[in-house]
């Protein structure tokens, strides 16, 4: 039972880095997470709100199984995971060796503050005379040259910003414990063997100061979108009470300018930054919430790229319910208005008319900046397969895409290294024979460690008085005071105490010892006191010591009593371990399903691939473009030939029972029932082009879908006919209720088709009626190209779509071109409609798998952003069109992501019972099933024979909703049973 030797390096601790580090760590590997900057989290700690639920939700990225309560907290405060070592201020300076066996050299810059000695009193920050623009607030606020880079974490260490530090020494003088060293030191360490590297460097945001666009850097009320979010934030420069930066006036009118630094060939930025449209909509709503619903919020845009599954409705709600204004135009300039501080926007609207408007603030929706080159050190090795980057080629990505790419990167890395991850799983603590387990089984005897770091700084603690009170408390309590000045005396004395103690639970009472916590935790664990057996009381917490010079014993005893009470109630975890079957069911053999199946099979998982149709491939073989089809053809071949994959075509899932880790069911095939058992299931049921009657589709032969038109265009005979006019109409029957979502693929398809037609017929008239061209990311280049090929783009509003009618045998399209200001009547040879995609019917399947379905019939993922391929059933994953419209290559990528998520579960030989999950006491349960109805995870089910409520310990996330609806505590939470909590409350009210 030794820890695996395989370790991975993750470079960059933004969303992608954290996500892939957690993925690797949860798959059983140890990870070194290397971050050049001072903190983890990337841009996330700067943002409080994300579309679509307007909240953060970053914590949903944390492991859902095998978690220790309390160890996990808000990810903005920093990450902590037993398998992840985090190095900030660190860069990779060398990487040598071969895939699977690299040696990495890491260079860290000292923070200038000794982690052990520092008491986190922050006196250093108070005295620092240097003030610099704070990057955390995107220059909308200041900070000192010594600062605390982590968000609200009282244990985080201050750090010196060497570039701005003047070495004046004020901080060193103010420090009560001589923790500051003003000499910048570089430390180098080498890490080996490293199996593989994930590069998650992130994308820099465009800096509008570079091109002096719209007065940024000159006019103080012109800010970036990130800065504006900081201005609105409770943790931002205005502490949640935002005012105009220039003069402190209230902010009543805010304008967003889209595509700053994107879609602008003149500054060499031809790409679309993909994320800014939704960011702006979200921010406008946030502004209304923070500044008042009557705040004028106006978004000036070219196309609102609401291509995500939930985006269009979100935008519509913003416009129709919250009154966010959307103006399609090009901004000419931003100038100071007559009233000081006000800003005047001049623009040309979509009718070509000049317009003018005045605002208090202008927010620049800055997209992706200049892509960082991969250092040669790494670039050389990407071909070897063991250095994987998280999709920099795609440019700036939103959270969802980043998370997907992180999953995908980990998956492909493991696949390439041919890891049989299951063999290398890190064993879990808490098994028989472990001292911790024995200690749990004993009557509580409490060893109190009073740790005194000897710091002479308020608030002081009267240790002897506290010790005296502790000794007089009822129960078996032993108290030892240890001095930990500089950590020197810690080792021997502590060892003796831990060895000789009769205690089986530890209470650590201390003042200013945050820096020692990690070391101590490790020492305790070695001595058989695993984390749940230890409670910590730091008397320096603000709820104890707030504003006092001396901590009175009375005040100190309050948190101590609470901790004692918790320790007195610690009990061993109950329940049985769940054996995990190393096999998976993949439902649907289209691009997503095939990709998931192959990826799992490559990593040693037995895969049952079930396909309803008689052949596999889904929509893949119907892809006309050979270049796009090839990867799917390859997947078909690989799946068919893979020894770990058994394919059941013409088959459906007939029944299912069991829990994550072990399901049993059967597939029905030609009236045969084939029994199957598997540990996880992946839904990849796909979708089909929508059937629509919009514009008279189906009534006139020249009206075809983009898919059919593509087939025609690629047919060699197409060129033989004459062709005068082709009209394409986008969003036919979609992006409005009831199918109010963007199908993502149609705009590119229309452009592809248009360019093909242009090539065949240089003189044909090609007209595209569109609402917003959704060429996100790199595909924007295709749009730019089409614009130069005499393809006429006519925008329309959903309330005034073009009209298709017949004149005799010919089809005529009537519309209005706002740019030219004229009505158009087009006799069309072909009218091609973007019909969009709909999911295959999946309600029955989802009922079987206990997974919810969206109103549009897509599978509802666990969290749209943070857990995009998970479902709320922890044994069921989803990818591809079943979950939302996407391109075939995106479906393939999602397939690998889903495979990785399944692998995180399947790599374990068994799932240990959770300390923090619910248990039912059947003898007193009245079977009212309120708990079953209230469980948000469907983790409870009724055993059919006696009607007992059973809990799936894997699906149970320990939220405790069940326990609070149960009137007689027949369902209880491990760790948080009623009597524990009530005694804790009693102790807290001493």
């Amino acid at each position: 039972m030794e820890k695996t030797k395989s370790q991975f390096l993750v470079l960059g601790a933004g969303v992608g880095g954290i996500c892939s580090a957690i993925d690797l760590a949860e798959t059983g590997y140890s990870v070194t997470l290397v971050e050049k900057g001072p903190r983890t989290g990337g841009i996330m700690p700067q943002l409080d709100h994300q579309f679509p639920d307007d909240h953060c939700g970053m914590c949903r990225m944390l492991p859902m199984v095998d978690r220790e309560p309390g160890a996990q907290t808000c990810l903005k405060r920093g990450l902590s995971h037993p398998n992840i070592r985090i190095l900030t201020h660190t860069t990779l300076t060398d990487l040598s060796g071969n895939p699977g066996d690299y040696t990495a050299v890491l260079t860290s810059v000292s923070r200038g503050v000794d982690a052990l000695r520092c008491t986190r009193c922050m006196a250093c920050i108070d005295v620092c005379p240097v003030s610099v623009l704070d990057a955390f607030n995107d220059r909308a606020g200041d900070r000192n040259a010594i600062y605390q880079p982590f968000f609200g974490n009282p244990e985080a260490l201050p750090t010196i910003d060497w570039d701005n530090c003047t070495r004046c020494g004020e901080c060193a003088q103010a420090c009560p414990n001589s923790a500051i060293d003003l000499e910048r030191v570089e430390l180098t360490e080498s890490v080996a063997p490293v199996s593989g590297v994930i590069v998650a460097g992130g994308n820099p945001l465009y800096d509008p100061a570079v091109t002096d666009l719209y007065g940024y850097g000159v006019l103080p009320n012109v800010v970036t979108a990130t800065a504006f979010e900081r201005i609105l934030s409770g943790s931002g420069p205005f502490r949640g009470q935002p005012v105009r930066p220039s003069d402190g006036h209230p902010i009543r009118r805010v304008a967003w300018i889209q595509c700053v630094g994107s879609r602008n060939v003149m500054i060499g930025a031809g790409h679309c930054s993909s994320t800014c449209c939704m960011f702006a909509v979200k921010e406008a709503l946030l502004a209304k919430k923070t500044l008042g619903s009557d705040t004028d919020t106006t978004i000036f845009y070219m196309d609102m790229r609401t291509y995500g599954r939930d985006s269009q409705r979100y935008r519509d709600r913003a416009e129709e319910e919250s009154g966010v204004r959307f103006i399609r135009c090009r901004i000419h300039s931003v100038d100071p208005a007559d009233d000081p501080g006000d800003l005047k926007l001049t623009y040309l609207d979509d009718l070509g008319q000049p317009g003018e408007a005045t605002f208090d603030m202008v927010v620049l929706s800055t997209g992706a900046g200049v892509q960082k080159e991969l250092p040669p050190l790494l670039a050389d090795k990407t071909d070897q397969g063991a250095v994987v980057t998280i999709g920099p080629e795609a440019g700036l990505q939103d959270i969802r895409e980043t998370v997907l790419r992180a999953h995908g990167a980990v998956s492909s890395l493991l696949e390439k290294l041919n890891m049989d991850s299951r063999a290398k799983t890190i064993p879990k603590t808490g098994r028989a024979g472990d001292k911790s387990v024995n200690r749990f089984m004993q009557q509580p005897v409490i060893q109190v460690l009073v740790l005194d770091n000897g710091v002479v700084k308020a608030p002081q603690v009267e240790w002897p008085a506290i010790e005296g009170r502790l000794e007089r408390s009822p129960g078996n309590i032993f108290v030892n005071r240890l001095s930990i000045i500089d950590g020197k005396d810690l080792s021997l004395e502590l060892e003796t105490v831990l060895k000789e103690t009769r205690g089986n639970r530890l209470l650590v009472v201390s003042n200013h010892i945050a820096g020692y916590r990690a070391t101590l935790t490790k020492r305790f664990e070695e001595a058989g006191f695993s984390a749940p057996l230890v409670e910590w009381v730091d008397l320096n917490r603000n709820d104890v010591s707030m504003g006092t010079e001396t901590i009175q014993p009375d005040a100190a005893m309050k948190p101590i009593q609470v901790a004692l009470m918790r320790l007195l109630h610690k009990r061993p975890s109950r329940g049985m371990a769940q054996v995990v079957e190393n096999s998976a069911l993949v439902i649907g053999a289209g691009p997503a399903g095939l990709s998931a199946a192959v990826s799992l099979a490559e990593q040693g998982v037995v895969v049952h691939l079930v396909e309803k149709e008689i052949s596999i491939g889904g929509n893949g073989p119907r892809i006309q473009d050979e270049h796009q089809r090839r990867p799917i053809d390859q997947l078909i071949v690989r799946a068919k030939g893979h020894p770990n994959i058994s394919i059941h075509t013409g088959a459906t899932l007939g029944a299912l029972s069991g829990r994550p880790g072990h399901f049993e069911g059967w597939v029905v095939k030609e009236n045969m029932e084939i029994p199957l058992s598997f540990g996880a299931a992946i839904i990849a049921t796909g979708g089909t082009p929508a059937i629509t009657e919009a514009y008279g589709m189906g009534k006139h032969p020249p009206l075809v879908s983009h898919f059919d038109f593509e087939k025609k265009v690629l047919d060699p005979r197409f060129a033989e006919d004459t062709l005068n006019t082709v009209v394409m109409i986008q969003c036919a029957g979609s992006r409005e209720e009831p199918r109010n979502y963007c199908s993502r693929t149609c705009c590119v398809k229309a452009l592809d088709n248009a360019l093909r037609v242009r090539q065949l017929f240089p003189h044909a008239r090609i007209v595209i009626f569109y609402r917003d061209i959704m060429t996100y990311g790199k595909s924007e280049e295709l749009y730019a190209k089409a614009r130069t090929r005499r393809i006429r783009f006519i925008p329309f509003n959903k309330s005034k779509p073009p009209v298709v009618r017949t004149e005799g045998d010919t089809v005529v399209v009537d519309g209005f071109d706002p740019v030219m200001g004229e009505a158009v009547h087009l006799k069309a040879d072909w009218v091609s409609l973007a019909v969009g995609m709909v999911p295959k019917p999946i309600h029955d399947l989802c009922r079987l798998l206990e997974v919810p379905v969206t109103p549009d019939g897509f599978v509802h993922e666990a969290d749209a952003k943070w857990r995009p391929v998970d479902t709320i059933n922890p044994g069921v994953f989803v990818c591809g069109l079943a979950k939302g419209p996407l391109r075939a290559d995106e479906a393939v990528a999602e397939g690998t992501a889903a495979a990785l998520r399944a692998l995180r579960l399947l790599n374990r030989t068994e799932l240990a019972p959770q300390r923090h999950s619910a248990v039912v006491r059947h003898a007193i349960c009245s079977r009212c099933y309120l708990c079953v109805d209230s469980c948000p995870y469907g983790a409870r089910f009724v055993e059919p024979v006696l009607g007992q409520v059973e809990v799936d310990p894997v699906a149970c996330q320990g939220c405790g909703t069940c326990a609070s609806v149960c009137p007689n505590s027949a369902t209880v939470m491990g760790e948080n049973e009623d009597f524990t909590v009530m005694n804790v409350i009693e102790a807290a009210l001493m």
């Binding site: 409080d48 639920d53 307007d54 909240h55 953060c56 939700g57 914590c59 949903r60 309560p69 309390g70 996990q72 907290t73 808000c74 903005k76 405060r77 922050m122 605390q148 968000f151 609200g152 974490n153 009282p154 985080a156 934030s233 409770g234 943790s235 502490r239 949640g240 009470q241 917490r541 603000n542 709820d543 104890v544 010591s545 707030m546 504003g547 006092t548 309050k558 609470v562 709320i872 923090h916 209230s934 948000p936 995870y937 996330q957 939220c959 405790g960 909703t961 326990a963 609070s964 609806v965 939470m973 948080n976 009623d978 909590v981 009530m982 804790v984 409350i985 009693e986 807290a988 009210l989």
Partner: protein, 140 residues
């Protein structure tokens, strides 16, 4: 009734309000020291018994702090708590426990100042209302 420092207990969720409290702490936003905090994984796990217990153990005010609706780490534990707690408020009012003594607020992880504000306001309200229960009643 003898005057004494108001006793306030804050039952807060691990993910949002607890983080906000720490943020307030690290931002050195001072709030009254008579607030005792008990951390829960989710406000959804706060049983009515806990609140009754708190009042019977001499709490003059009970503050429940959770994630904003939609932001619950456990999907919707917070709104379920709200529903349950609202009824308890009505109930306790019948026993002379002023509904102002018992409040539920949504405070997100980044809302340190909001946490401070709430603590200050709540403590002020409770101080104005005075002690809730005589200590000899707590024997019963």
């Amino acid at each position: 009734m003898a005057t004494r420092e108001p006793k306030i207990i804050a039952l807060v969720c691990n993910w949002c309000t607890y983080t906000a409290a720490d943020l307030a702490g690290t931002s050195r936003l001072i709030y009254p020291a008579n607030v005792r905090m008990v951390r829960f994984m989710c406000t959804g796990m706060i049983d009515v018994k806990y609140i009754i217990k708190a009042f019977l153990e001499g709490a003059d005010g009970v503050f429940v702090g959770g994630c904003h609706p939609g932001d619950c780490h456990y999907i919707n534990g917070n709104v379920k708590a709200e529903r349950r707690i609202s009824g308890l408020q009505v109930l306790l009012e019948q026993f002379g426990i002023d509904p102002k003594r018992f409040t539920l607020k949504w405070i997100g992880a980044s809302e340190g100042p909001e946490f401070q504000r709430n603590m200050q306001e709540f403590t002020r309200t409770i101080a104005e209302l005075g002690p809730q229960i005589e200590s000899d009643m707590m024997i019963l």
